[in-house]
């Protein structure tokens, strides 16, 4: 019990000499045991089955009950390449067999909350369910694992993934936080739907109760495999769909933190009101907000009109002002900003709509519109009826287009009808669009721009882009990959202006200063196991 000793020493130091700076620092840095973390979540839990779901609203309350095979490093979650073992032993394995075989060693000290030990067969069963779901079982991330050929468990402590071809996308896919490790016994005994309504994980916390629409409660799992953790006695995830309530909850200390994100103005208000009782963490966010013209609708089949749409948008100005009221900020191209594969500022400025001279851009936009006979065009922007950032950015976008003479109305639809319009009826002029991924993996994330991609709604065919994407993913030389990425980007955003990027999201998490140990990640899906969070109260 090394940890308790440290804590006692710290407490003694604190008691003996309040004035001693060292003791104080030590006390502040040493995790304290105990306490319940109250946090607010914007959405509702659809089901408890991570393999089936895609929403952060279930990750935040449910992820702490489960372990993963590997996860992003909780001490360095901002890195897109830093992964550590969770139920595996040692470091994340390097591939053998020309990058086609990964061998994971499974820890022997992991137990499920029902007391059963976790072994390689559980890992295999879980990933089989995700990658090769049996007939009749839905899996949301099946396509993530299309490079996987087979998963085997030769003995109790070994799991082997054999790939069809080497792929840099494999390890990030494994680290996806929805890949909960289930017990094979549960799957065998209760079937594949059992986990939708029941929880038996091996995570840092044990499920206590979930009141739909109200809250989810968890308590400390004493048998957690990372010794000394978790620090908290438990947590309570309170559902609060309105951002105003979530803010006020932190303001009035009804909750300590919210893990999705607030706009800067809200951060400023909280800091102004509460001073050093609030700590702010910020990060770029692996979510891009786009607008997608419907290429089958006139006049958006005309590249000049599409280009005018993107030229009219003042991204640098938007970054300055819009970023104060919406959860977006960073001007970027198609790849996650500041990633080695992302465009530099100079490269960006070569693209249509990224020039710092917005007057010239707008003049060009109006010229193109005139040329295409689409001056003063009236159309409707389809949007998702969610305030942050969709509706706020939509309202801003309409004003941007107004400045080149376009008359745009907004039609914000609730999530269901919104996707129905995008995917089934396809009855929109231009739609707000987005791409939100968990683990940063630009090579996979940018597939969004392919006309053939399942989550592309522009309805266009562009063989050049398909070709470039293919080459980029088979290329081993990072320099060449980067070149392909630039060509691909230029084609998508400029030459053909298939889609327009507004701004990348920007994650701001102001929280009560007594919450320690939680580090912001570039995604609201990541680093939510809560095992290293503690309360300094």
């Amino acid at each position: 019990m090394r940890f308790n000793g440290l804590k006692k020493a710290a407490m003694a130091g604190l008691g003996a000499a309040i004035g001693a700076g060292f003791a104080l620092t030590a006390a502040a840095e040493t995790p304290k045991m105990g306490g319940i973390l109250d946090f607010v979540v914007a959405g509702q839990i659809p089901s408890y089955d991570g393999h089936l779901e895609t929403t952060f609203a279930m990750i935040h309350p449910i992820r702490p009950f489960y372990s993963l095979l590997i996860r992003v490093n909780p001490d360095n979650p901002s890195s897109p390449t830093d992964f550590v073992c969770d139920v595996c032993e040692g470091a994340v394995p390097n591939p053998t067999d020309d990058g086609k075989t990964y061998v994971f060693k499974i820890r022997t000290d992991v137990t499920f909350h029902n007391g059963a030990p976790l072994s390689s067969k559980d890992v295999k069963a879980s990933f089989d369910k995700i990658a090769f779901p049996p007939e009749g079982i839905a899996s949301a991330r099946r396509t993530f694992f299309k490079m996987v050929d087979s998963i085997t468990a030769p003995d109790d402590t070994t799991v082997v993934f054999k790939l069809k071809y080497a792929s840099g996308a494999f390890i990030p896919a494994v680290a996806t936080p929805f890949n909960f490790i289930y017990s094979k016994d549960d799957l065998d005994k209760h079937g594949y739907h059992w986990h939708e309504k029941n929880i038996n994980g091996s995570g840092a916390f044990m499920f206590v109760q979930h009141q739909p629409g109200a809250f989810t409660e968890g308590k400390r799992y004493p048998g957690y495999h990372l010794k000394g953790k978790p620090y908290l006695d438990g947590f309570k995830a309170i559902e609060a769909p309105k951002m105003a309530i979530r803010l006020q909850a932190i303001r009035g200390d009804r909750a300590a933190i919210e893990f999705r994100g607030f706009p800067p103005k809200a951060r400023d208000d909280l800091v102004a009101a509460l001073g050093d009782k609030i700590t702010v963490q910020e990060s770029d966010w692996n979510c891009g907000l786009y607008f997608t013209p419907n290429h089958t609708r006139k006049p958006f089949d005309d590249v000049r009109v599409r280009k005018a749409l993107t030229l009219a948008v003042d991204r640098w100005g938007g970054s300055k002002y819009l970023s104060q009221i919406a959860i977006v900020k960073t001007v970027g191209g198609i790849a996650f900003p500041n990633h080695p594969l992302a465009a530099t500022k100079e490269e960006l400025q070569q693209l249509a709509g990224y020039s710092t001279d917005i007057k010239a851009s707008r003049a060009e936009a109006m010229r193109l519109l005139k040329e295409a006979g689409a001056e003063g065009l009236e159309f409707t922007l389809l949007n998702r009826a969610v305030d942050q950032p969709y509706k706020v950015v939509g309202t801003w976008l309409i004003d941007q287009w107004r400045q080149v003479g376009l008359k745009v109305k907004q039609d914000a639809k609730p999530t269901g009808p919104f996707f129905d319009s995008l995917r089934k009826s396809k009855d929109f002029d231009v739609s707000m669009d987005f791409n939100c991924q968990s683990v940063v993996n630009p090579l996979v994330d940018v597939s969004k721009f392919l006309g053939s991609a399942g989550n592309n709604y522009g309805q266009y065919k562009d063989p050049l882009m398909e070709d470039l994407y293919d080459k980029m993913n088979r290329e081993g030389d990072p320099k060449k990959v980067r070149q392909y990425m630039r060509q691909y980007e230029k084609q998508a955003l400029d030459e053909q202006a298939h889609m327009g990027l507004t701004l990348w999201w920007y994650k701001i998490n102001p929280h009560r200063s007594y919450v320690k140990g939680w580090k912001i990640a570039p995604s609201h899906y990541l680093n939510q196991s809560l095992d290293n969070v503690w309360l300094d109260k």
């Binding site: 103005k265 104060q324 309409i398 107004r402 907004q410 914000a412 009808p417």
Partner: protein, 299 residues
């Protein structure tokens, strides 16, 4: 209900055809001071809505971020919102949206209710029975739930909001009109008219409709207020009028609440506008009720 309780044509004339304009105004102020105040506010609102462009120098939809969330001062009388848009301007233009939705929904809803209610009462029989059951079904839903359902089917936007608000109004008006019309139908002069061989149309238009005018007009004014409130509620839920169109309920949603502590003006003034408008329509409706039909005051 007996005939004596129904307003005679003479009482209607009393309000409708006044001898001189200022004479009527003075009479209204003396007899119904609250109603007169309500009417005055309604008239001012209509004036503002019609001449919105002339009243304010600002555009209601243009963003100007350099004035983001500015507090009320000489330039922006009621401050600005998170897009730097002048709130006073958006309230004036919002009056246009509110009155448009309010009047259209009320007129169509009450009008359809009138036709259906009178028709149902006049023809009676199986039609009346079936019609009553259909009305029962609609009346069993809370207004907001029915409106929400319609909006989720049709999608948001001003015209769909009007439809969503109008549909639940129809049975409410039809019900009231029908019961008044039934009372008329039973009295001898309708039978006499029938015996004299007058057409259905003539009997309905000349005898029944005028006699259900009082409850109809009262329903109409109440509906305008209710429609404004419902529109605000739907817009607040994000299912009503859409940005950037200025609308009061919409102005209370999103940033208005989130930044309420540091910029309370964004949340306060649109709410006051809604309150004042609905208040005025209700005051006026109350006065109308007193004048047209003292017995109905209780409803």
């Amino acid at each position: 209900m007996t005939v004596s309780q129904m307003p005679g044509p003479g009482m209607l004339d009393d309000v409708a055809v006044q001898r001189s304009w200022h004479g009527a105004a003075w009479k209204l102020i003396r007899r119904q001071p609250l109603g007169a105040a309500g009417l005055a506010v309604v008239l001012v609102m209509i004036f503002m809505a019609v001449f919105a462009e002339a009243i304010t120098p600002f555009e209601p939809e243009a963003n100007s971020f350099e004035f983001m969330l500015a507090p009320p001062d000489g330039q922006f009388w009621l401050g600005t919102d998170q897009f730097g848009r002048d709130i006073w301007t958006r309230i004036i233009f919002g009056a246009r949206t509110a009155l448009y939705v309010g009047f259209v929904a009320a007129f169509i809803g009450a009008g359809a209710g009138l036709v259906l209610g009178v028709g149902s009462a006049y023809f009676g029989g199986l039609f009346d029975l079936l019609f009553q059951r259909v009305m029962d079904v609609f009346m069993a839903f809370p207004l907001i739930i029915l409106a929400l359902a319609v909006v989720s089917i049709l999608g948001a936007g001003t015209s769909n909001v009007i439809i969503a608000i109008t549909i639940p109004f129809i049975p409410h008006c039809a019900r009231v009109v029908r019961s008044s019309a039934l009372a008329i139908r039973e009295i001898p002069y309708v039978d006499a008219a029938r015996a004299m061989g007058f057409s259905h149309r003539r009997i309905i238009l000349r005898h029944m409709v005028p006699n259900v005018m009082a409850p109809f007009l009262i329903m109409l004014t109440t509906f305008v207020g209710q429609a404004i409130l419902l529109e605000a509620s739907l817009s607040y839920l994000g299912l009503g009028v859409q940005e950037p169109t200025p609308a009061w309920g919409l102005m209370l949603q999103g940033g208005a609440e989130e930044f309420a502590e540091s910029a309370p003006w964004v949340a306060i003034f649109p709410g006051l506008a809604i309150t004042l408008a609905v208040f005025a329509f209700n005051l006026f409706g109350d006065a109308l009720r007193d004048v047209l039909d003292p017995k109905l005051r209780a409803r």
